[in-house]
């Protein structure tokens, strides 16, 4: 008993940290309708600023607290509301998730750019002194200030928030605003202000959580906060994103159980090395399977959505004939010029970069297919690419298969994993599905990819050009470029054909209304499995291409953060069209390469840029590429019209 307590009590602060974050997540979700993946990042920002002010600039603790928590916390929330979430239609689940992800990707990359040093040490405590022992439980289970602060904070926050949401009018209005801001306005309530308040409260909570939990960690690092988020997401899922008390209890339990297990399990066992770190994801997957509430997330649609005009059709479908002809010819010319340049004058370094861009484009096409055409959100596309790459790599190393055979098997493996993923989440959709795929990605990251037998350990798998069977593909020839170009063209054509064909129509019906689609006889489960398999295969093709190009593959190239970033990048660029994916792929590597020349401090800028892209995206869910295309097409059409109305006889006769 004594021993159990001894293991359990140190788990309390971790558990409370999870609980506080989980409660914050549930609050934000219920009060704003957004599953705020950026909550951890917000907390990190406040903790960072707080510590930075106190330690580096000798501010008084209270002053730093006011600035970091009372001003910065709600301020960030308000900024998010004003510039991102306010502009997203409440029915657009994908946009809400992706924008939340862009915060998760963007903020931690942004902070070091603003403040320099990324790792601060010695966060001050504002409640009990963390190292003073205040009470003893039993004979020798000391309870120090850290535990006390964490427990008190958790309980206080929980009670306050439950009261706010369930008993006050403001809480009622917040819950109503999530469902329909417009219907709430018809009641005479300023819904914008209600939502802004909800974001401010959520931001305050994030700031408070961040600052109060900072002393539990020795250093303040973004990855710690993200790990914290994962456990918090699991706890929130246990509560079906509804009940804050359950979320809190689940959070505490996850913290305590993992420390108790750590205490009892033999350190050499597989349980200790592989299962324990994966505990939060296992809890998350289990919750997604068994908690019924998670199947009905975001089901309440805005009753007034019929007030919105329909989204504009793709520009390629509605532009005038002349412009269409010019654009199509233009594309072929650009493609030809690109191919010739790559084969002739482009420096080797840039050829490598662009090759990589094409490999990314293929991976991105898998997102176009899955999210753009089928409306399903997967946060495990990089993982699927990794599955194919590692399978192909291992087959090459051990079975001596060349890239064609090994790659094909790898692609099959990725498709199979994707299919399994789809089968295991048939009853989930929207956010639930996104969480399931996220859990899968995390499982692969912690338990499978790092294994010696999969990725060859931390060093990664080195792929000598000889195993390719085609020494031609060695990095210093043009063969790789030709291969990549062909594969990319084939994949792009395939996705386009699926989009235009019967399956594309079925998927678009499914995206429009699942009830309606099932009602005319569309086999929804099969469509889902099929599109996941296809998308997994595409990601696998891209992963294999990338592996050949990189010659060394390590787990870091396929981790879940990349999956998130991929989704954000593709969706903000334009997920509805094939061009969007290709432009995102090329754009990503080009920007990254250009940033090599920028000062060290701006290294994280790529992700920040794409997160900034979210600003445009939130107002134009069709994506930036599509938006710009529309703008330019409109300009061209106007110019054309002006040209026509001119009484220049030469052009007039020439046209008619």
């Amino acid at each position: 008993m004594e021993q159990l307590l001894g293991f359990a009590v140190p788990g309390v602060p971790y558990g409370c940290a999870y609980a506080v974050f989980a409660v914050g997540l549930v609050l934000t979700y219920r009060a704003t309708g957004v599953f705020n993946f950026g909550f951890g990042a917000q907390a990190y920002a406040s903790a960072f600023v707080f510590t930075w002010l106190v330690e580096d600039h000798a501010w008084p603790t209270w002053g730093a607290f006011v600035l970091a928590v009372v001003v910065l916390g709600p301020g960030l929330g308000l900024v998010f509301d004003r510039f991102l979430f306010r502009r997203i239609a409440s029915t657009n689940t994908t946009a809400k998730i992706v924008t939340g992800l862009s915060l998760l990707v963007g903020i931690p990359a942004l902070l070091p750019m603003v403040f320099g040093n990324a790792n601060l040490v010695g966060a001050p405590s504002i409640m009990f002194n963390p190292n003073t022992v205040y009470v003893h439980l039993g004979a020798d289970v000391p309870v120090n200030g850290m535990y006390l602060s964490a427990a008190i904070l958790t309980v206080a926050m929980l009670v306050l928030l439950v009261l706010l949401l369930q008993t006050t009018t403001l809480g009622l209005e917040m819950r109503a605003a999530v469902e329909s801001r417009r219907l709430l306005e018809l009641e005479g309530v300023n819904a914008q202000r209600v939502t802004a308040t909800a974001w401010a409260v959520s931001g305050l909570m994030a700031g408070l959580a961040g600052v109060l939990l900072a002393p539990t960690e020795a250093t303040i690092q973004a990855p710690d906060y993200i790990t914290l988020m994962v456990a918090a997401i699991a706890a929130a899922a246990c509560a079906a994103l509804r009940s804050m008390p359950i979320a809190a209890v689940a959070g505490v339990l996850i913290g305590v159980v993992s420390l108790v297990a750590q205490g009892y399990l033999p350190t050499s066992s597989v349980w200790y090395s592989a299962v324990l770190p994966a505990l939060p994801f296992i809890v998350l997957v289990a919750a997604l399977w068994v908690v019924p509430g998670l199947r009905h997330l975001d089901e309440a649609t805005d009753p007034l959505s019929s007030v919105d005009p329909p989204p504009p059709p793709p520009v390629a479908r509605v532009r005038g004939r002349e412009i269409d002809r010019v654009v199509r010819t233009g594309w072929w010319l650009v493609l030809g010029a690109f191919a010739i340049s790559m084969l002739t004058w482009i420096p080797r370094a840039w050829e490598t970069v662009l090759n990589q861009g094409m490999a990314y484009s293929v991976i991105f096409l898998s997102i176009t297919l899955l999210t753009g055409i089928a409306g399903q959100l997967s946060l495990a596309q990089a993982t699927l690419a990794g599955v194919a790459a590692f399978t192909a790599g291992q087959l090459a190393m051990h079975a001596g298969l060349n890239f064609l055979a090994g790659g094909a098997l790898g692609v099959l493996a990725a498709a199979a994993v994707a299919m399994l993923l789809a089968l295991s989440s048939l009853r989930l959709r929207g956010l639930g599905l996104a969480l399931m795929t996220l859990a899968a990605a995390l499982l692969f990251d912690t338990a499978i990819f790092p294994a010696q037998s999969v990725s060859g350990g931390t060093g990664g798998l080195s792929i000598a050009s000889s195993w390719l069977g085609l020494p031609l593909l060695a990095p210093d020839g043009h063969a790789y470029f030709v291969l990549a170009l062909c594969v990319l063209a084939l994949c792009a054509a395939g996705v386009t054909m699926v989009q235009r064909g019967t399956i594309g129509r079925f998927l678009s019906a499914m995206r429009g209304s699942e009830i309606g689609a099932a009602g005319i006889g569309v086999n929804l489960p099969w469509q889902r499995v099929l599109v996941f398999a296809l998308s997994g295969a595409l990601a696998g093709v891209g992963g294999t291409l990338l592996a050949i190009q990189q010659t060394v593959i390590a787990p870091g190239q396929f981790n879940y953060q990349l999956s998130l970033a991929f989704v954000v990048i593709v969706v903000t660029a334009g997920v509805g069209t094939v061009e969007g994916a290709i432009q995102a792929g090329i754009g990503l590597v080009v920007i990254q390469e250009l940033l090599q020349y920028a000062p060290q401090r701006l290294q994280g800028l790529t992700f920040v840029l794409f997160a900034i892209g979210a600003l445009t995206y939130s107002a134009h869910p069709e994506g930036i590429v599509e938006l710009e295309k529309r703008r330019w097409t409109a300009r061209a059409e106007r110019a054309l019209a002006r040209l026509r109305s001119e009484p220049a006889p030469a052009t007039a006769s020439g046209r008619s």
């Binding site: 209005e173 469902e179 009641e187 309530v189 019929s306 509605v318 269409d324």
Partner: protein, 264 residues
């Protein structure tokens, strides 16, 4: 003379590229009951939405009680005493029946009278009393409709706009609703009603506006409206959207994919 409760002055409105109203003028005098008629897609709902600020106007003015509210957010117009029951579902499905009522009665009635007006709502519509703690999303379609009407029928306002008033309601509930309408009418509330059962609404209306393809085809006393309606609607009587639903500049998708063989 008091200014009209609501005046649409040559209002045009559009949903993005889809134009819906072309210079529509509608006036609702204090205490009057106006029936808004027209075939499918004529623009009745759009008029209602423009009046309550849900859809912005592209030309013309909207006046509420003589005050220009063009371009004002919907909540300001609602606070000016104009209630709008949208067509279809008009309730928060994630909130309970009682929470739905509270949300809407609280501001009107004030905290003290809240209990009282809640009781009144339940008294008038007993079907809701049985389900007061149920989530509104689990009510049947007609019960949801009833709830959205109960929200506005208990406390009189300046103007009540009801879109597809009796949609989905069983006959005897329609009677209840019309009885309640009579009460708020007597209490001085002006009514602007869109209703599928034309005779019924004309029997309580003082004047009528008939819309056709987004323009006013008739505006005048209710007694003569029935003829006009038969005249305007009967020959077509078909959903149309020719001018109404077509984009301002025709942007009909060109032949591609599934549309390619259309011409063959």
């Amino acid at each position: 003379m008091t200014p009209p409760v609501l005046e649409l002055d040559a209002v045009s409105a559009a949903y993005g590229p889809y134009r819906a109203l072309f210079g529509v003028s509608v006036t609702v005098l204090e205490g009057a009951t106006v029936a808004l008629l027209g075939s499918n897609g004529a623009g009745k709902s759009t008029v209602a939405r423009v009046a309550s600020g849900l859809v912005p106007v592209t030309a013309g003015r909207v006046l509420a009680g003589g005050v220009d509210v063009t371009g004002k957010p919907a909540w300001r117009i609602a606070r000016a005493g104009i209630a709008h029951v949208p067509e279809g579902r008009g309730v928060f499905s994630t909130l309970s029946v009682e929470e739905n009522l509270v949300l809407s009665l609280r501001r009107r009635a004030g905290p003290r009278a809240l209990r009282h007006s809640l009781e009144q709502a339940y008294l008038r519509f007993p079907a809701l009393a049985e389900r007061r703690h149920a989530r509104a999303g689990t009510l049947s379609g007609g019960q949801q409709r009833l709830l959205s009407l109960a929200k506005v029928l208990v406390v009189p306002r300046k103007l009540l706009i009801a879109d597809e008033l009796s949609l989905g309601l069983a006959p005897h509930v329609v009677d209840d609703v019309y009885r309640a309408l009579g009460d708020v009418q007597r209490a001085g509330t002006a009514l602007l009603i869109v209703e599928q059962s034309i005779d019924r609404v004309l029997s309580i209306a003082t004047s009528a506006v008939v819309l056709d393809h987004g323009s006013v085809a008739y505006a005048g006393p209710a007694t003569e409206a029935a003829d006009v309606v038969a005249h305007v609607l009967a020959p077509r009587g078909r959903p149309q959207g020719a001018d109404g639903a077509m984009p301002a500049e025709p942007r009909v998708p060109r032949g591609r994919g599934w549309r390619r063989s259309q011409t063959t």
